[in-house]
Subunit: 218 residues, 4 copies
């Protein structure tokens, strides 16, 4: 099949309402679970742990690009089988320790099956990127029965999200001189480390403040 | 226990975050399912079937009143065991036939267990009230495991919802003379029948229009 | 200019962010005003008066069709000058008398200038359509200064909105036999009258119920 | 008047629907303006400038506390006359330079009158707090005429908002030892400076990346 035909066939299947409805269902399920955990944590800790929850269904363009980059055939079955981020949910949190607790409680739920975990907070990417990525499977019930759907959940701190904004801006610039690009990358990577450092300082201070609360009640 | 104490204990349990979070989770699950069905139907029929979805958790006052009216003990266990509408979701739809189709698809889903059905559309209440009430059970997953939660789903037409507005207004009037009250009730009951008649006429006309669509493609 | 070129130029201007942002601003202003009135009325009457508020910016297709139908040149200046419904807001209300009160209070506000009123409730269209259409102008403030923007506000009852749904469905059917079309139109027109009749009966009953409230306090 | 009576009278006036509706109207107006600016900036810069917009009406408790602290009489007229933050809107932005541009465009609008500006970004508070506070007046149109309403708008960066979260947590702790409190305050103040430093580094890098975009088009 020609490159153009492959793309068009893929597009047709990815834009079919049946596919999109299932993706949206999976997103809803994860969002509801995160919102409930957010409320539980608020009750337990007396402070908010999640700043915002966003989601997206991967676009046809982005899927095609990723398949070609990985030298994989450009078709729907390969996309569904090989790419784990067709459906994505992102939770931006205030502190790193809350992120691990949220991830733990979410994956402890019987209907959430953890498929893979990539911890870019413990081991940041070369460019400085820090997040916790979980690939999970949730059941989608329709009148035809039950189907498993994969979702990639990204957890990151507010500060890292701010950093990622800038990294994302840079990705969309083109024809940048090799030297300029390298120089900006180096700065971004350096600032990522500084931000992570402040995140950790702030978390330690928060723990100290948390403890004050407990002592007060004595 | 005194009447006041019983009420206070019930209130405490009903306002506990743990109880409310589970109620909200159940509401979310049903809402997501209805939204998904709404989108599926739109794709299949080319027209909206649900006008609006609302929900509520039954208030302490309303629970206490209902338990007393039924001569039941005023406590949390009795409320949970005997009242099936502690958690309620309402879908207001354009046509009666869509309501039955929605109810059918919803209860066909593996994780939705139909406990009871009261069809006040086929058999209206004495005052004229028409709705389809389903009591269902859905699983709530938390880190402690899986728990079943009951939800009452009310389906009604837009026209019947309009009627119910007025019926609801009347309920909140007090010290009405016996004669006036009876007279208004009679009118309400008469208009309910007229509205149901128009609903059915409109549905027949809609079916005729739907059919035109099919023929056009031939 | 060729028909295709005229359309493309029009499209370009209608999709320009500057145009759309001003339309959205005008919509927001009217929506906020309606929401505030809705709350005021609720406080005064103890019952909701508006069921829902929706809005839309007229599409390029729809604008082009309307200009051609009116034998007007297909360009941006003509659209802005001659069509008063480029920006539209619709308030669906429970009762006719509330609609007139809402319209009165809205147009009494200093920054809302009433340009034209078409009362299809008092004088329904031939097909049975009933609504109150107001064309108003509101000031849009940007850093460049103040600009007047026209908005068409449609008020209709819940029952008439239900009717309009069906009328709208019919519009999108094509190649219907003359006889069938006429027959359906006649039914629609007949049902519109019946719905308007019920609307009025219900309003009278509501007034009777309203009065009970007043007497109670004596 | 006794302390209790003064409080109750104030509460009555602050909870009156008329007062609250006007506050909400003013909030809506500012929110709509900020949303429009957010969209304009996105079109111009190809990147988001506002991360989130929130608002609040000052609570009775908070008003009473502030009046007593300032040794002012606890009544409605004094609150309205002397406190400029009864109605508050907060815009959390990614970068400091965008904040100044937003503030400039907002106050350039004819119907927004700037009453006072406090720039805690240029001159941070002793505890490290950094924000730009604008007190503005906007016209509120009702059927009774036009009234001026004061709103405090706070602009801050995402990073400073994260910092403020922790500062806020600390405020709600009680009976903390003098030494502990001072020590935490010092850390908070130090981190505020570090965060501001990173904010500025990131802004410089963003400007460098922005410039790349311009060059690309050449």
């Amino acid at each position: 099949m020609s490159k153009k035909n492959a793309r068009e066939k893929l597009m047709q299947e990815l834009l079919a309402p049946e596919y999109r409805l299932k993706c949206e269902y999976a997103i809803h399920i994860i969002e509801v679970k995160l919102e409930m955990l957010m409320e539980q944590f608020y009750v337990e800790r007396g402070r908010p742990v999640i700043s915002s929850i966003t989601s997206r269904i991967k676009t046809v363009d982005s899927i095609e690009r990723k398949l070609r980059k990985k030298n994989l055939p450009v078709d729907f079955a390969t996309a569904e089988g090989k790419l784990s981020d067709l459906v994505g949910v992102r939770a931006t949190c205030f502190f790193e320790d809350d992120i691990y607790k949220l991830a733990e409680r979410l994956t402890a739920q019987e209907d959430v099956v953890l498929i893979r975990e990539k911890d870019y907070m413990k081991k940041p990417k070369a460019n400085g990127y820090q997040s916790l990525h979980l690939t999970v499977e949730v059941p989608i019930y329709t009148q035809e029965g039950c189907e498993k759907k994969r979702v990639e959940i990204q957890f990151r701190t507010v500060a890292m999200d701010f950093w990622a904004q800038l990294d994302y801006q840079l990705c969309y610039k083109k024809n940048i001189e090799e030297k300029t690009s390298r120089q900006i990358q180096e700065k971004l990577s350096k600032y990522a480390k500084e931000i992570a450092g402040i995140d950790r300082q702030m978390m330690r201070l928060r723990k100290q403040i948390d403890k004050l609360g407990t002592e007060r009640d004595v």
